[in-house]
Symmetry: C3
């Protein structure tokens, strides 16, 4: 996994324009739709249980995000996830706020048990909770994981059988054996609601076209983080940063990513 | 239908500030509220079946948008639509993703059967599906209609008994006999989530004050498209374009529209 | 209550970063999340009845906003509100559109009866309706209250046993006895969807750290209004204003607020 591979995957996203189906929260659903377009994908959000599986079967990737979950939505996620598995459509799970309430933690564990998840994308607190090694989650914000971040991510990947993409100042992407660290990003990304959700959407775009979920997830986080760096350069605060983040991801070329991706094996 | 009529209708929207009630999707609901304000209307979104009909009775127009539909929402749409019909409030229907799933197609057909719809605003794929002549819908994006666009729109208008407003590079507005082509717009509108939904909201504002739904729909698409042209001039990407689109629609005067509307009979 | 107290409270919000739990509408939920961050708080939106009370117990304040209410959401609000009361977590209620439909008016009255509300934040029409002295509400927009604004707010505060924060060109904050007038703000705030909802979120941030809800609510409206004044200075329309509003609130220092707060006793 290197910068050239990231660049090639961005080129593939732009060429194939994968349909990325989301069952997601109402807080950042618009951000997720627009960031998918800016990355090069085509978003669709068909959350009702009566159609979520049918739409999943037609998609290039399925993103499940529990940011404003309720039991009916979890049922819809399970139906869509199982169909995605049958059709070979990769599933990305964002366990927003796992650890903060029983409903969140239990719903994530149930999804992980009943659906084969390709990439589990969470913050350090959420991944620590799901690894079983401990983490702190306050509302939907990470208070960090107990112990070493790389080890926590590896433990979680092994325990869940997924590629874990743990976001933070340095992102950790691991399948339990291989591990890639992504340094791209900017502190302003933490001052805007929904950057975690948006990252999951971008991961969906890349995993839809990648042979390997680990490469797809790492490339996506490089691209999203690099757009954040560029957007932050001209920002006067979180909202002008938001405009820059979306515009810069839209403008990002494979060449830009080849030159700007900062990733290394761990 | 000409540019002067469009300008006069924009003046009426600004003068009367019609209340536009929406039962709509969670992806672009905020965009719909704000674009309604920028056009000159007053938005309200009261989706619960327990109040949707009461609010519809008080409104100048009712916009039904199935972007994130579920069966309970469709019931609420039917209640509100029937009440709107009783009260002489025009109904605009946006059949987002009709053709992509059975739930969407069936729900649109049911609404068209039980509610008198003034304007059916969709993309070429959706209108082709609803015309019965064929169309391609991928997620919520149009893959085009089979056969000639103007003929497809006319066929759909006759089949459904509505004014059809079919958006695309050129918008086609027809009641099955009369037909107006609207050339306003910019390709960046296709790179921003929700411009189709926003167009329906603007149509709602204009149809609320127009004697004739065809004139109202055509004028609305001219105004929205012209704002898009102006917003695109200073854009660096989809999000700075978004800011420009809203600001330009807000600033658009009847004189601007008289000079910039590009429409012709077909 | 003076500008120095407002400034000190802003400093406390920034220092303590209170968790502000929202059960709110789908139109402006993203705005509420981001304005909370810009004010200095940490937003969370956990609306499901299965977790809303658990999250409320962990929060610094609970904001209930009925903008897109339905009966299930009202139940969740009641559960969360009661738990917040048990835990000493202040509750802010935004009665969006009370007076416009029976569902809205009745739901607000039920919440006021079953939950101890610290601050009731509404526009003049809503507060007039809830005071029982009369007000006009069109959709979710205020048509004003019958009679004198300050007297209406005082009457509502006494009738409901809350601090009333009545927003308008001049905001009125009163517990029925003490009364503070806040002059900060800009007319563009009325041309952007959701500024009322955002004001409630900012009130949540300040009331979470204030000893006294009246001081918290007044300081919050000063800070939000001052950010609006600053954001309006460079705006070309409602959307560039939006960017400015969020960026300016994020950048606002206690010193700025000490110098710019315009409030007086009434």
């Amino acid at each position: 996994m290197d910068a050239q591979t990231s660049a090639a995957l961005l080129g593939l996203v732009r060429e194939k324009r994968p349909l990325v189906h989301h069952i997601t929260n109402t807080v950042t659903i618009n951000d997720c739709a627009n960031i998918t377009i800016c990355a090069g994908g085509a978003p669709v959000m068909a959350g009702a249980a009566e159609e979520s599986a049918e739409m999943a079967a037609a998609a290039g990737a399925l993103v499940l995000n529990i940011g404003t979950l309720d039991p009916a939505q979890v049922e819809s996620m399970l139906r869509a996830g199982r169909r995605a598995n049958e059709c070979g459509v990769p599933v990305i799970l964002d366990p927003v706020g796992a650890g903060a309430t029983a409903l969140r933690t239990e719903s994530v564990l149930r999804i992980l048990e009943e659906v084969e998840v390709a990439v589990l994308k969470g913050n350090a607190g959420e991944i620590g909770v799901l690894a079983g090694t401990g983490g702190t989650v306050r509302g939907v914000d990470s208070g960090g994981c107990d112990g070493d971040a790389v080890e926590t991510a590896r433990t979680c990947a092994r325990a869940t059988g997924t590629v874990v993409a743990m976001t933070g100042i340095v992102d950790v992407v691991t399948d339990g054996e291989r591990c890639v660290l992504v340094q791209n990003g900017d502190p302003l990304m933490d001052r805007l609601s929904g950057t975690g959700c948006m990252a999951s959407s971008v991961v969906g775009c890349f995993v839809a076209v990648a042979d390997d979920p680990l490469s797809g997830a790492a490339a996506a986080l490089c691209a999203f983080g690099l757009a954040g760096e560029r957007g932050a350069a001209a920002a006067r605060g979180p909202y002008s940063f938001r405009t820059g983040l979306f515009d810069e991801l839209y403008a990002l070329t494979p060449e830009d990513l080849a030159g700007g991706a900062r990733l290394e094996a761990a």
